[in-house]
C-alpha cells in the first residue's frame, strides 16, 4: 500500500540488508557500479515483495474448519479433566 514497499529511490529500512550483497569495486568503475547497485537493489526489492506476496497468499486462505474443530475438541477434553 505504502511507497516503502517498493520505493523508486531511497532505501527502506526493511531492505537495507540487500546492500550486503553488493561488493566494493575499484573507484574507476564507480559510476557504473553505482548504477548496477541501484539496479541490484531494485531487483532484490522486487524479489522481497514477491516473497511476501507468496507467503501472504497462503496466510489469506480460509483456514479449514478441521483446525478449529481439533482445537475445540482438545479444549473441551482438558476442561473435563480440569
Amino acid at each position: 500500500m505504502s511507497d516503502d514497499e517498493y520505493p523508486k529511490r531511497g532505501r527502506p529500512s526493511r531492505e537495507r540488508h540487500a546492500d550486503d550483497m553488493i561488493e566494493q569495486r575499484p573507484s574507476g568503475e564507480r559510476r557504473k557500479s553505482s548504477a548496477a547497485l541501484d539496479e541490484a537493489r531494485l531487483r532484490q526489492q522486487a524479489i522481497g515483495v514477491r516473497l511476501r506476496q507468496m507467503f501472504d497468499q497462503v496466510v489469506n486462505e480460509d483456514v479449514p474448519d478441521e483446525f478449529l474443530e481439533i482445537l475445540r475438541r482438545a479444549d473441551s477434553r482438558s476442561s473435563e479433566q480440569g
Binding site: 500500500m1 514497499e5 517498493y6 540488508h17 540487500a18 550486503d20 550483497m21 541490484a40 531494485l42 531487483r43 532484490q44 526489492q45 522486487a46 524479489i47 522481497g48 515483495v49 514477491r50 516473497l51 511476501r52 506476496q53 507468496m54 507467503f55 501472504d56 497468499q57 497462503v58 496466510v59 489469506n60 486462505e61 483456514v63 479449514p64 478441521e66 483446525f67 478449529l68 481439533i70 482445537l71 482438545a74 479444549d75 482438558s78 476442561s79 480440569g82
Partner: protein, 201 residues
Amino acid sequence: MADDTRNRPSPTAADDEAFKRELVQLIPHLRAFARTLCGDPAAADDLAQDAMMKAWDARASFQMGTNMKAWTFMILRNQFYSEKRRSWRQSQLDQEAAERTLVAVDDPEAPVALDELRQGLAMLPPEQREALILVGAGGFAYEEAAEICGCAVGTVKSRVSRARRALHAILEGGAYDRDGEPASDAMRSILADAERLSTVR
C-alpha cells in the same frame, strides 16, 4: 529463556481461553510456514495441525506476553525435522513435492511469476530457504529467526544474505530453466509485476 517461571500461578480457564484466542490467530501463519517446508498442501496442513496441538498441550510452559508466533513456528519447525528424521523415505517424497509445488496456492489468478519464485526457492539449500522465508516473508527479526532455527544470529544473517544472492542469480539467469525459455524472463516478469504487487498489500 529467562529464569522467570517462579511463582507463576497454575493456568486457569481464562488463561486457556486467552492462549487459544492467540493460537487461533496464528493458524494462517502456521499453515503458510508449513507450506514452505512441506510443499504439498495436505501434508503441510497435517504438519500445521500437529504443531498447533503440540503448542496447545505445551501451553502451560508458554509465558503469555512473549512472542507466541516465534514460539509456535519453532514448534512447527522441530516437528517437521523430527518427522523427517523418522522417515527418510518420506522426506525424499516431501522434497520432490516441494520442488513441484512449493507454496502451492488455489488461486487461479496467482501471478505467473510466483511459479518462478517458487521454483527458485526450491533450488536453495533448505536452511537458506527457511531463513529467507522467516525474515523476508514471515516478518521475523534476525534474532527471532535465530531462535526459531536454533542457531546464532550471525548464521541467520549470512544464510539470508546468501539466499538472496543465490535466488537473484537463479532468477536472473544461471541455473533456472523452464521449458527452454531464457531464464532471464523469470526476473523480467518479477520486475514487471513488482509495482502492481506493491499496491495489493
